[in-house]
Symmetry: C2
Subunit: 346 residues, 2 copies
């Protein structure tokens, strides 16, 4: 582990055991969780590299956490020892602002507490995430996980899953609608699965015919090659929603004409984008953002997954393989999410 | 009149009489209008200069037309000779696509017919607009104008008016809402008047304290100086809608934090913009476009103006002053709309 700016969290030259701070006492409303699996999110890398200029080292990334309850505080009512639970991107929020009262803790107006890298209101310093063997979280930010699903493949639902489920849910995707998922990676593959399960006609929009094939295996009904101008023109004005999962700066303008009048492209990446407003004007169209989901919606998403037998497609890794995994994430060389197996430490 | 690309429609060295093609026979559903006033819109200049790459010369601009009916076709039922009427940016549309059936002719999917510069389905060539003494338009695209209002100041309602009214109406602005109008020009001054009349708390957002004062005279309740970071921070998360009337490329990012969770900035200019999606994500916010309004909504806007005694603030010019006026429009040196007096030719 290094605290040098821009350095990955783990290095083969250092002690490979995951950190176990075991530093937070179990408060009355706290749940202690032994971590079994933790998904690897692109944000982990951005954060460890301080790409967003907000990192405090040392960093313990990880916000796609699955594990079992090992202890509960005296006032905990929702969980018992042994329960299978999850923790996503949030571990606390103010609970009092309009967003929190609307179950939108991700838009907390005094500042949500991220699972890692946020000022820690309980312990001081910053919060530490799921690249670890255990975590203590207040019960209101712990999610119930069905044991009907493949547990290790549930982990990425806590970020990649809710990030795509929330906009599909908010913009009321359902039967009779045509939904485009732009880009096929960790987010895109979940977007396809959810939109299909919600009953929409789902189109994978990609530059790559190979990704098109993969998307069909995931359930997409059609493939639209975004660099084929004829195909794009033939699909103009036909989409009820576009979910854009491209994680880097790119040109939004070619996608806008695909939307029907009055419809929206939700951009999930956090980057500058190229946009000309003329395309929005001709059709009263919108470009929107969306950030993960609140705790109630995340639980709803997990329950939806249990009902529809939805999990992520994952590749399991050991903790010591994390740097290789990060390199592969940077090259988009994973179908579709790495998950760290923490059970080796238990 | 010149057909040289990039040249203004009229030149002092040429014959100054406005064109009077008088070329369209009055069809059964047509209304012939003697033009009394025509507003000067920034689009006229863009079009004459072929800034959008779609101009066919010669150009007769003008889409803020007020006049009196001088003749009607045999099947016209809505208008009689002598009626005070208006014509805005549209003179026809397909009438059959979903947008037209929804009274959204401005989003016609086979292509609306713009008042000037569109392929003319009746006469061939391109349509010619209101910098003229008369115009023939099918009655469904003619608007009824109240004679209670100052007629010459009604002209700009046909474009600047409906362009701001439509988004305020669509996004349901009303009492209890805080609405920001960004920029004070032809559009911005109408945005202030409408939002005030709709009952909202209206904030003029501008770089210029002088424009702030002017906006207060127009009815704005508050002024927010957009280059004052403290003021901007103090207003973060408080706006229900932002109406951005800045007509040139600019950075949208400083305005996004002003919006409440889930709210929208409507950008009325047609230009590239600088946008980072991170700002949209933190609050599920949107950037939207909007284009004028349909005929039904334009009539509703004119009726709203008659009820609330709303007109544009105008400066009257003669036809031969058009080039000076255009130069002043380019310098934003007009409060807030030039209107050409065509009555001199009658």
């Amino acid at each position: 582990m290094s605290n040098t700016k821009g350095y990955a969290a783990y290095s083969p030259s250092e002690d490979l055991r995951p950190l176990d701070f075991d530093r937070r006492e179990i408060g009355p409303k706290d749940v202690k969780i032994k971590i079994a699996y933790c998904g690897v999110c692109h944000s982990d890398i951005h954060f460890a590299h301080d790409d967003w200029g907000m990192t405090q080292y040392p960093v313990v990334p990880g916000h796609e956490i699955i594990g079992h309850v090992t202890a509960t505080g005296s006032d905990v009512t929702k969980y018992n020892k042994g329960d299978l639970v999850g923790v996503g991107c949030l571990v606390d929020s103010c609970g009092e602002c309009p967003s929190c009262k609307d179950d939108l803790e991700q838009y907390c107006q005094t500042g949500m507490v991220l699972t890692y890298g946020s000022p820690d209101p309980v312990m001081g310093g910053v919060t530490h995430g799921g690249y670890s063997t255990q975590i203590v979280v207040t019960e209101d930010f712990v999610l119930r996980v069905s044991d009907k699903l493949d547990t290790k493949a549930v982990a990425p639902l806590l970020c990649a899953g809710i990030t795509t489920y929330s906009p599909l849910n908010y913009w009321k995707v359902g039967k009779g609608q045509k939904v485009g998922i732009i880009g096929l990676g960790g987010l895109g593959h979940m977007g396809v699965k959810f939109a299909v399960a919600m009953g929409a006609e789902v189109v994978m929009i990609t530059t790559s015919p190979d990704k098109g094939k993969d998307a069909r295996h995931l359930g997409a009904h059609e493939v639209l090659i975004s660099i084929d101008e004829e195909q794009m023109a033939a699909n103009a004005g036909t989409f009820d929603l576009l979910l854009n999962t491209i994680p880097v700066q790119h040109d939004l303008n070619p996608y806008i004409p695909l939307l029907k009048v009055g419809k929206t492209m939700v951009v999930l990446g956090a980057s500058p984008v190229d946009l000309h407003t003329m395309g929005l004007a001709f059709g009263r169209k919108s470009v929107a953002g969306s950030l993960i989901g609140g705790i109630r919606e995340t639980q709803e998403m997990l329950d939806f997954c249990a009902k529809h037998n939805i999990v992520s497609d994952v590749e399991m890794i050991k903790m010591e393989d994390i740097n290789t995994a990060w390199d592969r994430v940077m090259k988009a060389d994973v179908k579709y999410r790495f998950v760290i197996d923490m059970t080796a430490f238990q």
